[in-house]
């Protein structure tokens, strides 16, 4: 009951009861909706004009049909899984009936990747790669930013590696990963290859932005630190890092966007069972449904990339003290 008296609640309540608020929301929704509608109409029109060797280019209706197909396949897979476990129970019963002391092998169901499990795999892979990249890029960026000598040393290397495409990294990464003896704990080889490729391609924006943010701490604040005689560690923690946070987050956001793009390409070649593999397999199948399914995947990839960016933005807004920094 206390919450009802809290000033923030009153503020929220008054916001909601104001017609101005609702009108603004309505306007925003209409604009967004009309934009999407125009896109869908253009898509429908364009698709009816394009003929490919796999048939007519799919329009929104075909894509929607394939979407429900994918959902059906997912449900069918769930049923297969249930049936498998049912059979396993029956097998166990039979074994027990024959020999009450028998050891019951409890085998897990080897699920076939469904579209939704592939989405999950992609997300897992991209987040792992991104987190690893950040763990490397941020400390290294801080070190480089603090020392202009280190910057001179590292900058040529960074500029050399930054433009390398993931497709060029892949064979090298694949060979290295193949030669290393991986225990099961690391995950499958294709997962490791994808993660490494994502990491190699996405760490550069964070690295550079962190270095720049750290090196651009205003001289006045550095003077304050000197007068206060802050230790190196406190100087870093209290002055440098908070000052650099907006730039770091800009870098992180860019890195995440790149990581997502690179992931799809890496998955196609490394055969990691994610969305990239889905698109590649559908292309290989060359069935009359393939294009529609690829369209569904393309839209989902876009939506997920958008969602990841929004996530990063929310995080940035929470941490960012600099209200003037661009946050859209």
């Amino acid at each position: 009951m206390k919450i009802l008296h809290h000033p923030a609640f009153h503020q929220w309540q008054s916001q909601f009861s104001s017609t101005l608020f609702w009108r603004k929301q309505l306007k925003q929704s209409l604009l967004t909706f009309s934009g999407l509608l125009v896109f869908v109409l253009c898509w429908q029109l364009a698709s009816s004009q394009i003929q490919t060797s796999l048939g007519q280019f799919p329009g929104p209706t075909q894509a929607a049909a394939q979407w429900s197909q994918l959902v059906d396949e997912y449900q069918a897979e769930q049923q297969r899984e249930d049936a498998f476990y049912q059979r396993q129970l029956e097998r166990h019963a039979a074994l027990l009936a024959a020999d009450p002391q028998a050891e019951l092998p409890n085998l897990p169901y080897r699920a076939r990747p469904t579209f939704f499990s592939q989405i999950l795999t992609s997300l897992q892979t991209v987040l792992t790669g991104f987190v690893l990249a950040s763990l490397i890029a941020i400390p290294l960026g801080i070190l480089i930013g603090l020392s202009s000598n280190l910057y001179q040393v590292f900058n040529p290397l960074i500029q050399l590696f930054k433009p390398i495409s993931p497709l060029a990294w892949l064979p090298l990464v694949t060979l290295i990963v193949s030669s290393v003896d991986l225990s099961a704990a690391w995950g499958s080889r294709s997962f490791v290859v994808s993660v490494c490729t994502v990491m190699l391609c996405s760490l550069w924006p964070t690295l550079l932005n962190t270095a720049v943010g750290v090196s651009q701490v205003p001289q006045d604040l550095l003077n304050v630190s000197k007068v206060l005689r802050l230790s190196w560690w406190r100087h870093l923690r209290i002055i440098v890092l908070p000052s650099a946070v907006p730039m770091i987050f800009t870098g992180l956001r860019l890195s995440l966007g790149i990581a997502w793009m690179v992931l799809i390409a890496a998955e196609m070649l490394a055969q990691n069972p994610g969305l990239g593999k889905f698109v590649w397999d559908e292309f290989q199948n060359g069935s009359s449904n393939s294009l529609s399914r690829i369209c569904v995947a393309v839209l989902v990839i876009g939506l997920l990339g958008f969602a990841l960016d929004r996530l990063m933005l929310t995080l940035q807004r929470k941490v960012n003290w600099d209200k003037s920094a661009v946050s859209r």
Partner: protein, 281 residues
């Protein structure tokens, strides 16, 4: 006689440039006693901030040295607290936290949590900022930020308070309030203050001595004026005081007659015209 608290001896600084060394300051000699309020005044670019930075330890003098309490000054430290021109508050900390940072850094385990809190609040009360403890610098005005800057410097209980045009960006009323507060604080704490200012009235009102600097390059101390006005000083009373005005006159004449820097545009144009006619003739 009070012993010399802060000594600047033959201080000079030159910066290496492509065209050869640029001597910014030369032969600056100054002895400041404990509790003295000294203003540095001069035209822009004459090196006043440089002198302050050298005393603060933010710049290293290339000639001569600075001694505080018989110890040489080589690096910055809280005993020579600085109030910067640009408040320099940490934008991600609140007003309270900004001052607390200085206190914590300086007291280093000598104070309990309660004592720290009290001390921070005391200093903020001194500058009349008690109502804005939890605000961030982005949410308060320039004058308020400067007050917090002063509170932070004071909270370090410095031997010397160094102020680099602290009231330059403020409006007249705020400035007046802060000047009064500063005089009050100084009377209370007997802090040695070195302040840079452009404002002649301010210099005469606040200082015990006014150091007038010559123009750069190779700027040095031109004249030192002792302001012998009794404390506490009240601006309204002093406005009609002849001694006060005399001091003002002396400072102004130094700045605008003996160290004329700003040439009037008209005379320069006339000079150029003359040269042209001479050449074509």
């Amino acid at each position: 006689m009070q012993k010399t608290h802060l000594e600047l001896t033959q201080v000079g600084i030159s910066f290496p440039t492509e065209k050869g060394p640029f001597v910014a300051l030369q032969n600056v000699n100054l002895h400041i006693k404990k509790g003295e309020f000294v203003s540095l005044i001069g035209h822009s670019g004459c090196g006043k901030s440089t002198v302050l930075n050298i005393v603060a330890g933010l710049h290293q003098a290339t000639a001569g040295g600075v001694i505080l309490n018989h110890k040489e000054v080589t690096e910055p430290g809280p005993e020579r607290a600085v109030v910067f021109q640009n408040h320099s508050l940490l934008p991600w900390l609140t007003v309270y936290q900004n001052v607390e940072l200085a206190v914590k850094q300086q007291s280093k385990g000598k104070k309990t949590k309660a004592e720290i809190r009290d001390w921070v609040e005391h200093n903020l009360a001194l500058v009349h900022m008690s109502h804005a403890l939890d605000k961030r610098p982005g949410e308060i005005s320039g004058g308020m930020k400067q007050r917090v800057g002063i509170a932070r410097a004071l909270a370090m209980q410095p031997e010397v308070l160094l102020m680099d045009e602290p009231f330059g960006a403020l409006d007249a009323l705020t400035r007046a309030h802060l000047q009064d507060s500063l005089m009050e604080i100084q009377a209370q704490l007997n802090t040695t203050v070195m302040m840079i200012t452009h404002d002649v009235d301010e210099a005469v009102l606040l200082s015990d001595r006014i150091v007038m600097m010559t123009n750069g390059p190779a700027a040095t101390i031109g004249e030192i004026l002792t302001v012998d006005l009794p404390r506490p000083r009240h601006r309204l009373q002093l406005a009609d005081d002849p001694t006060y005005n005399h001091y003002r006159h002396q400072v102004l004449s130094f700045l605008y007659e003996k160290q004329r820097k700003v040439e009037d545009l008209g005379s320069k144009r006339a000079e150029k015209q003359q040269q042209k006619t001479q050449a074509s003739a």
